[in-house]
């Protein structure tokens, strides 16, 4: 029961974390009406995971040999792109939420782009989804054969605890002030995306598309990647007890570039399009001499 619990929790952990952050974010910027985008993305992610799980079970030959690997690597890099986009977007909103006019413009702008937030939810769920589906499917088969009900319960508990985690983020951060929430989630998403990026590079190394460079260090004596804390830290920030130099390079490079993009000082541009529109709205108040 415990091993299956740990396996399922680990797979669902990242998805829960992302969904928790995205829902809370929408609540923070007072757009609960957009929850449905996130829910739709997550539901699509679950459906796509089930479909992939079924398809993989019927594939054979070269399609089965390489297909899932390429999809996985693709999803990893897509997740990185989507998370980076979300970080930049959050940063823009953090600045835009001040004025009322800006808020309205903001809202119009976000309506046209908010479907992208659905891809955050989709990518988060789909990333480990097919794997979880196949694993739980195996548990069901065992349970149906009269054995292994305990492991099935373990699997269900794993999903439940992940859901509770998402809910805890949602409820727990209600009292947190907006700037603090932005800061904490920005750092979390930054680390998460850096971890995904380095995992993608590692995947390409495993596929032989990039050379398998030597490992930089070995901290498995301190914190093994297979341990419970190790896997959670791997999911959260890409922790590797024996990283290859390419993986570590990719991780640091992402943190540097995306971190600079996020926290780097921006020149306050007076002639930004936003303030331009705000100024453009004032002439209606100006009475022209007749």
């Amino acid at each position: 029961m415990l091993p299956t619990f740990v396996i399922v929790l680990r797979e669902a952990f990242e998805a829960a974390l992302l969904l928790g952050i995205v829902y809370t974010y929408l609540q923070k910027i007072s757009r609960p009406q957009h929850y449905r985008y996130v829910t739709a993305g997550a539901v699509l992610g679950v459906l796509a995971s089930i479909a992939t799980g079924v398809v993989v079970s019927y594939l054979s030959g070269p399609l089965l040999d390489l297909g899932p690997d390429l999809v996985t690597a693709g999803i990893l890099f897509l997740s990185v792109a989507v998370l980076t986009w979300m970080l930049v977007w959050m940063r823009q909103h953090a600045r835009a939420i001040k004025g009322d006019v800006q808020r309205r413009i903001d809202e119009a702008e976000s309506r046209s782009r908010l479907w992208v937030i659905a891809t955050v939810a989709f990518a988060g769920v789909f990333r480990e989804g097919a794997e979880t589906v196949l694993f739980v499917w195996g548990l069901l088969a065992q349970a149906a054969a009269g054995a292994g009900w305990a492991s099935l319960i373990g699997g269900v508990l794993g999903v439940a605890v992940a859901a509770v985690l998402a809910l805890a983020i949602f409820n727990g951060s209600k009292a947190v002030s907006l700037p603090t929430f932005f800061l904490v989630t920005s750092v979390l998403l930054l680390l998460l995306a850096a971890g995904l990026f380095s995992a993608g590079v590692g995947r390409l190394q495993g596929l032989g598309l990039l050379p398998l460079t030597g490992e930089l260090w070995d901290t498995s004596w301190l914190l093994d990647e297979g341990s419970f804390v190790g896997t959670l830290l791997h999911g959260l920030a890409g922790y590797r007890s024996r990283p290859t130099s390419l993986e570590f390079g990719a991780w640091s490079l992402y943190l540097l570039v995306a971190g600079a993009l996020l926290f780097g000082s921006r020149p306050t541009r007076r002639s930004s399009p936003r303030s331009g529109i705000a100024r453009g709205a004032t002439p209606s108040n100006v009475h022209l001499p007749s």
């Binding site: 594939l59 054979s60 097919a130």
Partner: protein, 115 residues
Amino acid sequence: MMARRRWLVAVAALAIGLAAGAARAAEGPQEIPLTIEGHRFTPAEITVAAGAPVVLVISNKDKAAEEFESRDLRIEKIVPAGKTVRVRIPALKKGTYAFFGDFHPKTAQGRIVAE
């Protein structure tokens, strides 16, 4: 007309045979069978030559899917129930590389020794 068609068939068969032979020769890497049964790997230890890529041909005889995973090699590969999957292992330096079944890590353990 019939003679001509027979001749065409013969040429086509020869071409296919040659192409298949060439493809097999080009495939190169040595194939090593690995069986999953009762959530265990057989053989649990595989010896390969260092510096040469190999292909693991993993057959899952169980009724449940398994995931062949090696953190050392950065490989995660789902092997659905009753299926056979080919996994390319890049040329390795001398050393020991552990792998395990991620869905049944307690029992499914093994390692590749590159000499």
